[in-house]
Amino acid sequence: MEIVVNISDMKVTSRARDVLVTHALGSCLGLAAYDPIAGVAGLIHCLLPLARDAKTPPKNPFMYVNTGIPQMIRAMYGRGATREHLVLKAAGCGRMMHISNQFDTGASNIAALKKLLQINEMRLSAEDVGGTIPRTMRLFADTGRIVITSCGRSWEL
């Protein structure tokens, strides 16, 4: 079954026949996580890098890289995934042409992800980020295969 992950949304599955998909990644970050041993797959679509107000938890934690991704990974641990086996792949983080750095949300999103991973001593196995293209990201839960689709073309990540 194809399960759609909306903007500021996250889905985790242990069913091999599921495909997690998120459409319309502009400057947003799509992060796919897969544990081949536990057979657990997760996909998140984050709009923004950081939930800034540290005191009150955000209404929707999946909106932000710094709150959503830890929550997704914890949900996957809850289903038997382990840190050693997790494979992480990122897509999206596009930018408008010549936009000034301070408004380049895509760059801030990928930077927030890399910082989060560095602190947790984890790393990305692959990434397809930046540029002006819109991206759709699919994660096949049977194998962990990631397919990016954009402008009528598809490729594996």
Partner: protein
């Protein structure tokens, strides 16, 4: 005949907005327009009536106690808002088509247009400025030219995009090179022909290049930045994606901060569903 002339000729043959919409617009344009008479004209048309009531009861436009008659709705929305809503109801059906050549499924362009409109108004609130009354409608109409190119003229955007990528130019520049006209100008010409007020037409014409507008216009800057923000969120994005160059001058004129931009992104995600459903479900 050049490609530009051919496109213009075909576009000008596109039928005007539905009759009830034209009637209401003509009436509002009359200096003696009164709300009671207007309510009667609207009540004649079930589609418009439903739209007006839903809009007045939506949290984005109205809020407060529920209204159940067109007259009450008009009192709440006011003439200016009503005018915009009627134009929106007239044009929205055009934005519901799938736009194949531009990689848009049915409803996606409408969703994007609503995101632009909501972003433009929300940005004004965020900046503490009063958006000119036509801002929302103009935002909603900025993509009308894409509808015309994609659905009526069956333009295939793929070679346009390829050219834009190869030459590192914006999508609308590539449209000009290949078609002789870009979708912003085409949309503006069509709206002009339909008798849509000039301030709205100007926003549509210059929204990708606000610095070329002969007059400075707050609504234009709001819609330009609103459009950039909507594109970045990816809502209803076509194959052209982010292949556009925002105007730094417009960002500077509005004095937008990155934090304010993020706040608008969050707000549009929360608000577009409501507005989209109103415009999506009621066909005129």
């Amino acid at each position: 005949m050049s490609r530009r002339e051919e496109i213009l000729q075909k576009a000008m043959a596109i039928p005007n907005m539905p009759m009830p919409v034209q009637k209401v617009l003509a009436y509002i344009g009359n200096p003696d327009a009164d709300l009671r008479q207007l309510a009667k004209i609207i009540e004649f048309d079930p589609g418009l009536t439903v739209n007006v009531l839903r809009m007045a009861n939506s949290s984005f436009f109205g809020g407060g106690a529920k209204v159940s008659t067109v007259k009450e709705a008009l009192m709440r929305l006011g003439l200016g808002r009503l005018y915009q809503l009627v134009i929106a109801s007239g044009v929205a059906p055009l934005a519901r088509y799938a736009i194949k050549g531009y990689g848009l499924r049915p409803g996606e362009l409408l969703e994007h247009s609503v995101a632009v409109a909501v972003a433009s108004e929300t940005l004004a609130r965020e900046l503490g400025v009063v958006a000119p009354p036509y801002t929302f409608t103009a935002g909603l109409l900025v993509n009308i030219g894409k509808t015309v190119m994609g659905s009526f003229l069956e333009v295939d955007a793929a070679p346009i995009l390829t050219l834009a990528h190869e030459q590192h130019i914006s999508f609308e520049q590539a449209e000009e090179l290949i078609l002789g006209i870009n979708h912003a100008e085409l949309g503006a010409l069509l709206l002009e022909k339909w008798g849509i007020p000039t301030p709205i037409v100007n926003v549509v014409r210059y929204r990708l290049r606000p610095d070329e507008s002969p007059e400075p216009d707050l609504a234009l800057d709001l819609v330009h930045v609103g459009d950039v923000i909507a594109k970045m969120t990816g809502i209803g994005m076509g194959i052209d994606g982010l292949q556009y160059a925002p105007s730094e001058a417009a960002f500077a004129r509005l004095d937008v901060s990155p934090q304010q931009m993020e706040n608008v992104m969050v707000a549009i995600l929360e608000q577009i569903a409501e507005v989209r459903d109103i415009l999506m479900e009621n066909t005129l």
